[in-house]
Symmetry: C2
Subunit: 419 residues, 2 copies
C-alpha cells in the first residue's frame, strides 16, 4: 500500500512553547528520505480526549501515524491507552519491556516504582520497540491498512529508536528501497551552487538531487530508488562523479564526514599538527576541533587574542602592522597564524581576524581576514559576510577551516608532484 504519513507530537511543553518540536522535523526528514509523503502534522497536549481526536482527524487523510511523547509513567499519560482503544485491543504486560526497564533503572541506581511497570504495558499484537536509552518502550500497531507507531518524547530516546527500529520496519513495507548520499560543499554560496546545477536538478527524477544550506556549508543530497541497495549505489555514482568534477575541491566530504574530519584526515596524511589564532571567532575555531572526539593528536590549541595588546604579546603581531594595516587585515592574520604555529609548535596554523558587526571602524561589518601557515607556506584571504553578529562569527570559523583544508590540499598535491 502507498503510505501517507501524519506526525503527531504529544506534549503540553510544546503547546506552551517551552520546547521546540524537533522530533517532528527529525521524523519528517526520515520519512522524506524513505519517499513517504507527509501532508499534515499536529501537536496536542497530554489529554486523552484530544489525543483520540487527533488520531481520528489524522486517519481521515493518512494511513500511517507516528507519534512522539505521551508515554510517561504517570497516571496522566494515557496516549498509549488511546492508541490501543482506537485499534480495539487491550494492553498487556510485556515481560521483555519489563526487563529493559528494570535494567535501565538498576544501571542508573534508581528505585523502580509501580508507575514504571505501567510503561511495560503494550497493546496486544503490537511490535514492541524496546528502549535502551530510557524507560518507555515504543510500539508499532497495524490493522486494516492502518499503522500506528508510538515513540517516546525525549530526543535521546526517539532518535535511536526511529533510526534503528522504525526505519527498517518502514523500509520492509516497500518493494523499492531508497538510498541517499550527501556531498558537502564549502566555499560557494547556496544560490551560486543552485545556479550551477539548475538544469541537472530540474531534469532529474531518479535519482533526485536536492540542495540544503546550513552555516556556510551547502549539502547536495542524491537519492536513488531501486530494487536493491547495489542498484541504488550504481545510480548515484555517476551523479556524484559529475558533481565532484563540477565543484572540484569545494567538495570536502560525503555523508557523516565533517569539515573538521576532512582537515584532520589531511593533517594525518601529511603528519602535521595544527593550532589556531582567533579574534572575532572567539573560540569557535577551537570548538570545531574539540567538539569532536579523537582530535587531540592533531589539534594542540588556540589563542583567542581579543585585544590588540594580546595579539602583540601572545602572537607576536608587530605594532607597526596593526598601525599600518589595522587589526582586521590579511597582514595581521598572517602574523597571527605565524604566531600560533610558533606558540604551539605546530606544522600548520589557521588565523582569523574580523568585524562581527557594525562598529566605528571604516571597514565593513562582516569583513573577515583569514590566514593559513603550512610549513613555510603562508596564504591569506578576505571574506565579506552579511548576517548578524554570531552568524558572521560561525561563517568565519567555517570559512577559516575550509581555507586551511584547501591550502593543505594544495601543499599535499605539490609535495606528491615533486616526489
Amino acid at each position: 500500500m502507498k503510505l501517507k504519513a501524519e506526525i503527531i507530537a504529544i506534549g503540553t511543553e510544546i503547546l506552551l512553547g517551552d520546547i521546540v518540536n524537533t522530533n517532528a522535523s527529525y521524523i519528517a526528514r526520515g520519512l522524506a528520505l524513505l519517499g513517504i509523503d507527509t501532508f499534515h502534522q499536529q501537536v496536542v497536549g497530554d489529554n486523552p480526549a484530544r489525543v483520540k481526536q487527533a488520531f481520528e482527524e489524522a486517519y481521515r487523510h493518512a494511513n500511517l501515524i507516528i507519534t512522539s511523547g505521551g508515554l510517561g509513567p504517570t497516571e496522566d499519560d494515557l496516549s498509549k491507552e488511546m492508541g490501543a482503544e482506537y485499534f480495539g485491543v487491550p494492553l498487556r504486560m510485556d515481560e521483555i519491556a519489563k526487563n529493559h526497564i528494570a535494567g535501565y533503572m538498576v544501571r542508573r541506581g534508581r528505585a523502580i516504582t509501580d508507575n514504571n511497570w505501567k510503561q511495560a504495558m503494550l497493546p496486544e499484537g503490537c511490535i514492541p520497540l524496546y528502549n535502551d536509552n530510557g524507560t518507555a518502550p515504543g510500539f508499532i500497531l497495524s490493522k486494516d491498512d492502518k499503522i500506528l507507531i508510538m515513540l517516546p518524547g525525549p530526543p535521546s530516546e526517539i532518535v535511536p529508536m526511529f533510526d534503528g527500529q522504525v526505519i527498517p520496519y518502514l523500509r520492509s513495507l516497500s518493494e523499492d528501497i531508497m538510498i541517499s548520499r550527501t556531498l558537502h560543499i564549502c566555499g560557494m554560496g547556496e544560490s551560486a551552487v543552485e545556479d550551477k546545477l539548475h538544469d541537472e536538478m530540474i531534469a532529474m527524477s531518479n535519482p533526485t538531487l536536492a540542495p540544503y544550506a546550513k552555516e556556510g556549508i551547502v549539502d547536495l543530497r542524491i537519492t536513488a530508488k531501486a530494487k536493491s541497495e547495489e542498484e541504488c549505489r550504481e545510480m548515484i555514482r555517476p551523479v556524484e562523479d559529475h558533481i565532484r568534477e563540477m565543484f572540484g575541491d569545494l567538495v570536502f566530504g560525503a555523508d557523516e564526514e565533517t569539515l573538521t574530519d576532512a582537515v584532520l584526515k589531511l593533517l594525518r596524511q601529511m603528519d602535521l599538527t595544527v593550532s589556531a589564532a582567533e579574534s572575532t571567532c572567539g573560540g569557535l575555531i577551537a570548538d570545531r576541533f574539540v567538539r569532536q572526539s579523537g582530535t587531540s593528536d592533531r589539534f594542540m590549541g588556540s589563542i583567542t587574542a581579543y585585544s590588540n595588546r594580546s595579539k602583540v604579546w601572545l602572537l607576536g603581531v608587530k605594532e607597526e602592522t596593526l598601525e599600518k594595516h589595522g587589526a582586521v587585515s590579511e597582514e595581521t592574520a598572517i602574523e597571527m597564524a605565524t604566531g600560533a604555529a610558533e606558540a604551539f609548535q605546530t606544522g600548520a596554523a589557521v588565523a582569523e581576524t574580523g568585524i562581527a558587526e557594525k562598529t566605528d571602524s571604516s571597514k565593513p561589518s562582516g569583513m573577515v581576514c583569514v590566514a593559513v601557515k603550512v610549513g613555510d607556506r603562508v596564504e591569506s584571504d578576505t571574506y565579506y559576510f552579511s548576517r548578524r553578529r554570531n552568524s558572521n562569527r560561525e561563517l568565519a570559523a567555517v570559512y577559516a577551516l575550509n581555507f586551511l583544508r584547501r591550502i593543505l590540499l594544495q601543499v599535499k598535491d605539490e609535495q606528491s608532484q615533486n616526489s
Copy 2:
C-alpha cells in the same frame, strides 16, 4: 470573549523536515505569557485545499487562529486567498503595504516584480500588519467571534511583527494584562530548585511561578495578571524578593540579563579585566564573552591549551603538577588560571580542565575542575556532569563562568566590608 488559540504553520519545508518549526514555539510562548490557551497546533503544506481544511478543523475548537508562512509572492502561495475566502471577503490592494514593499526592495537595490504587488493585496476590512523586514505584510481579520491572524514565515520577519503588533492587539482584547519577570539561577540543578520551591509553586495561582531549565541555568518565571502594569509589578515584587532570599547569590540576574552580563557588571564595578584558560571547553568560555557586543573592554582573550605541552609552554603549568595530580585536577586548573592572568595581564582569570566523555583515564567522564584568580585570591572547585560530550562542555563553560561570578562577588563584598 475567552480566547482559545490554534497555531498553523504553512510550509512544505517543515513537512519535509528541512526546517524546524521554531515559529510555532515562539508564538506559543507569547500566547502562554498572555494567558491565552493553545490546545492544538498544525502544520500544512502550501496547498490551498489543505490550508482551508486546516482552518475548518481549527475553528471547530478554537476562536483565534495564528498562521505563519504561505504569504510568498508566487502564484502557488494561496493561503491568504483561503483566509479571505473563509471570512467571505475579497482581497483589495493596500496602498501603504505597496509603499512598504517598494521601499523595502529599493533599499536593497532589488527589482520589483508584479508578483510583489500580489503581496500588497489584503482582505477587505482587515487590520494590516506592515512588514519592515521583508515584503509580505501580515493581517488581522476578525468577524463573528472568530479571529484570523496571518503572519509571514521567516523568523526575522515574524518575530518583530508578533512582538510589535500582534501582542499589543491581543492585549487590547483582554481587560487584564499579564506581566512576567524571569529570575535566572546557576549552580543548582533543576530538580533541586523545584524541590526547594515545591510548596510555594503549587499554592500560587496569581502570580504563577514556573521553572524552565536550559544549559545549566534554571529560569523561574513569575507571571502576574491584573488591571495595570503597576499592579502586576507590585504582585511580582514580594515573590521575587522571596526567591532571591531563598537562593542567595545563585540568582545571577533577571529577564534579558545573561550570566556574561552579570560577570561583566562585576568586572566593571571592580575595575578588572578578565582572561580564560580552557581545555575541554575548547573555546566555549571565550565564546560566552565574544558572542555578546561590547565585551572587549573587559575580556582580553583565552588560551585553549588542548595538549599537556601547551599547558606547560603557554600557561606555565608545572610538569610536576601534571605528573602528580594529572591534567584534570584543581591543582592544574589553578596554575592555568594563574598562567592566563599572567599571559593576558588581567586582574581576573578563569580556567577549566575536564574530561568531556569516557576515556582511558581513571577519572570519571564529565569531571570538570575550574579555578578562578581575582587579584591575589585563587579558588578552585570540581563538578561532575553526566551528559554527552558537548553538553558536558557547555555545562563546564557555564559553571566556570558562574564560579568566576561568585568569587568576584565575594571579593567585592570583602573589599566593601574592609573599606
